[in-house]
């Protein structure tokens, strides 16, 4: 899906746990997430910390969307 949306000129950040798949499917901006059952947050941290983590990840995603890239880029910590 990523590629097809990006074809319209819309920047897409792919936030996902399995980075190799994201690379395979051709995402250009990739932000790794926490775990498959809870990609954006970590319920073990409690609600507040989990949400902070989510906010941090989404901010990273927005940063990626504002970053010029010339090919597939994984935005690690």
């Amino acid at each position: 899906m990523v590629k097809e949306i990006e074809r319209y000129g819309l920047p897409v950040v792919h936030m996902c746990t399995i980075v190799p798949i994201s690379l395979t499917i051709g995402a250009n901006r990739i932000v790794p997430t926490v775990a498959i059952p809870y990609p954006l947050g970590d319920p073990h941290l409690g609600e507040e910390k989990s949400k902070n983590l989510r906010r941090h990840l989404v901010e990273k995603g927005l940063d990626a969307l504002q970053t010029e890239v010339d090919g597939q880029t994984v935005f690690e910590e």
Binding site: I18, I21, T24
Partner: protein, 128 residues
């Protein structure tokens, strides 16, 4: 290492149900077996055999048996990529043409071939 067979082939189930874990999906289709395996890969299982083992096309034989094992915590990305590619390949064939409704004789032959693919792999040791 504990092997777990996911199969819709009664011969495989009968032969191995007392040896190791067998998830027997009676009456399930070829793709259903792939889906069932895919779901388990997301629950930390790892593929031990190739999902498309056998050169019979996915719209030819209705039987499929795949051996998996529980891996370490987390998801084995090689397994995820392999099962997804296999699902895509199987869907490609099934989109063009469905598996015919075979006679019981032919179904029996397909079960035999599927069992033979698994028998070999069951004799193997693996250290994952």
């Amino acid at each position: 290492m504990n092997k777990l067979i996911v199969t819709n082939n009664s011969l495989v189930f009968e032969k191995y149900c007392n040896h190791c874990g067998v998830i027997y999906l009676k009456d399930a289709g070829y793709l259903d077996v792939l889906y069932a395996v895919r779901d388990r890969i997301h629950q930390s299982y790892v593929l031990l055999t190739h999902p498309l083992a056998g050169s019979l096309k996915p719209n030819q034989t209705p039987y499929k048996s795949i051996i998996i094992t529980r891996g370490e915590a987390g998801v084995d990305t090689d397994s995820v990529v392999l099962i997804e590619n296999s699902i895509a390949a199987a869907q490609k064939f099934l989109r063009d043409r469905n598996t015919p409704s075979w006679s019981e004789k032919i179904l029996g032959d397909f079960r035999t071939v599927d069992l033979s693919l698994i028998e070999n792999a069951m004799q193997k040791r693996s250290f994952n």
